[in-house]
Amino acid sequence: MFGLGLKKRNKTDLRDTPIPEGHHLLEVNDLKMYFHTQDGVVKAVNGVSYTLDRGETLGVVGESGSGKSVTSLTIMGLIDMPPGKVEGGDVLYRGKSLINMSEAELESVRGNDIAMIFQDPMTSLNPVYTIGRQLSEGMRLHKGLSKKEALDRSVELLRMVGIPNAEQRVKEYPHEFSGGMRQRVMIAMALACEPDILIADEPTTALDVTIQAQIIELMQELQHKNGNAIIMITHDLGVVADIADKIMVMYAGSPVEFGSALEIFYEPMHPYTWGLNRSIPKQVQDEKKPLTPIKGNPPSLVDLPDGCPFSPRCPYATDLCRTQKPPTHVTKTGHYSKCHYSNDEQFVQANAPKTNRVKPGDIVPERGVDA
């Protein structure tokens, strides 16, 4: 009875199917996930779009409550419906819709083709089973490994994520691990089946700085080896600064700006992104107030402002902003921004923060060195 559901599904893994012509590894198109609650409809994800290819890293940045976690949980099909409901849009993995997939098909994708590291390592492991058993489960399910094989591989995985004395530690329970160790276990668990896409939801928030760096390095190393894509979720633009290829900035359930990491750092177009840039320590040097927090709080997702969702907090907001939804301004490279004034180059030039970050490849920094 307790062996229930651990038989290997004898279907081919979706990751072994080629990506159809004209498609990306992962495509999120205008995805909308609303929660129908007693207090009204919570528009937690409201029109998220991006694409991701193999070997790429996407950084998703935004304040608490901006819908970062719900977006990735929707992709994984892990939102309870009800109260959740996909109100529109689609998610294509290798050209196949994850939204319209049957539950059984999704189960063979989860943990296998797409794996996720969760935000809170302290509560994300089952307290009554050993680490080894919890690590083994996915591999037995997706790879059809025997108990013994899966346990051996669990030891290997623990060693890989830098847990000493792994043979002994697979037999231990979560409460015998520290927070950092548990997060490593979560990473090992997510990597167990060598996923095509690894979603890491604030994988280092609970950890101290030195361990943060180690864990991010580890994920990059493995990406290098396996060629998988990574979606790195964080509320700290600084964390994704060095590792992301693309960055999506989210605000109140929608992306406000999306572009390559270079574009987001050197040519940001949206006032909210500017605010985030200014709140990274040591990022800005040529301005009088080096650290400027964004004032105010994000709007209620039940009752969004009529015009631009950022207008109540935006220092540049006009009447137009408060009444009309801003259009999406897209550049040739696919860099986009949802602001009425993003197409006004002078406005952007005058107000965007100047950064002294050294662009990769630049020998001499372009600006801001002397400040």
């Binding site: 009875m1 307790f2 229930l4 559901g5 651990l6 994984m76 892990l78 539950e103 059984a104 189960e107 063979s108 994708v109 989860r110 943990g111 296998n112 794996a115 996720m116 969760f118 809170d120 509560t123 994300s124 492991l125 089952n126 307290p127 009554v128 089973y129 919890q134 489960e137 996915g138 399910l141 997706h142 329970y173 409460h175 015998e176 979560m186 668990m189």
Partner: protein, 343 residues
């Protein structure tokens, strides 16, 4: 773990002494002279009364068992503290004294009655575990469905219903109204075979159900709320994210966590049932220890009351210890925490 068990067993001693001392004092303040009650309406000669008192150690005797008299020629009552030590001494030798009324060793009487209580408790606990856990699971998994409502409604009714009333209703329904249909099978009088054993387990169903009714309802409520709570935990989402099906997640990950408090509740309740439910046993005229103690109290047959309470205290303490151990077995945090405290 071993050290933990030893510590728990040592904790038994003050509890045991406390309970028995209270019982001992109580029998001396309850009105009614037990020895007079033995004779019933008939008058008893003072000599006969004194002989009985001497037999039961209520007066001081010499080596030959003859009552000693003081200078006024009156018998000397045994001091209470001496009586209590005599009781403890007897207990260590497996002797719980002799019944006032029936002149039989208390151990013999109780050993004859106790199996009925134990068997009733066993059937009761099986009913409680199966129906309670099952109903709780169904109503949690099919939350807000017809079945959930049905379970919620019936548990509310069961909790609100006094056991003796439920017992009478069941007797009335199955024994009287459905007499022809059930052929009297569920109803008393209990039939004994030649060995004095019940002929049929069928007779256990109604009393066991009555005995377990309230706690079955509680079990199902605890199970429901625990399972719902566990299903909201982060580690359940982790399990789903691994690709386990909803069913596998419930069986493999949620159930064990949800069962921990339920097992504790059922275990403690088993101890309560083994103490002989006086109401249920009285309503069903069940020849168990509860009924026996109830009758003994009415008759002021203190040795039986003391003996019964002694057995109950020991059984409850042992069961509670077993519950604690099984709890630790289910929950590694407690198991390992307890063994870590060794060093």
């Amino acid at each position: 773990m071993a050290k933990y068990i030893v510590r728990r067993v040592l904790q038994f001693i003050p509890v045991f002494l406390g309970v028995t001392i209270i019982m001992f004092l109580l029998q001396n303040v309850v009105p009614g002279d037990p020895i007079k009650l033995i004779a019933g309406d008939k008058a008893m000669s003072p000599e006969a009364e004194l002989a009985i008192k001497a037999d039961h150690g209520l007066v001081v005797t010499d080596e030959n068992g003859k009552p000693q008299l003081d200078e006024n020629g009156e018998p000397i009552p045994t001091p209470l503290i001496q009586q209590y030590f005599n009781y403890l001494n007897g207990l260590l030798h497996g002797d719980l004294g002799t019944s006032y009324k029936r002149n039989l060793p208390v151990t013999e009487i109780l050993l004859q009655k106790y199996p009925y209580t134990v068997r009733l408790a066993l059937v009761g606990i099986v009913i409680e575990a199966i129906i309670g856990i099952g109903a709780g699971m169904i109503s949690a998994i099919k939350r807000y469905s017809f079945w959930d409502t049905l379970v919620t409604l019936s548990t509310s009714i069961l909790v609100a219903m006094p056991a003796f009333w439920l017992g009478m209703l069941l007797q009335l329904f199955f024994g009287v109204l459905c007499k022809n249909w059930t052929n009297g099978a569920f109803y008393l009088p209990i039939s004994f075979n030649a060995n004095g054993e019940f002929q049929d387990w069928v007779y256990y169903i109604l009393p066991a159900f009555t005995l377990a009714s309230v706690s079955t309802a509680y079990t199902s409520r605890i199970m429901r709320s625990q399972l719902l709570e566990v299903m909201n935990q982060d580690y359940i989402r982790t399990a789903r994210a691994k690709g386990l099906s909803r069913k596998a997640v419930i069986w493999r990950h949620a159930l064990k966590n949800a069962l921990i408090p339920v097992v504790t509740y059922i275990g403690i309740d088993f101890g309560v049932m083994l103490s002989g439910a006086i109401l249920t046993e009285t309503v069903f005229n069940w020849p168990g220890i509860g009924n026996e103690i109830y009758l003994a109290i009415q008759q002021r047959d203190w040795p039986i009351v003391m003996g019964g309470v002694t057995i109950i205290v020991i059984v409850v303490m042992v069961i509670n210890l077993l519950v604690d151990i099984s709890y630790a077995f289910l929950d590694p945090r407690i198991r390992l925490g307890a063994s870590n405290s060794k060093n």
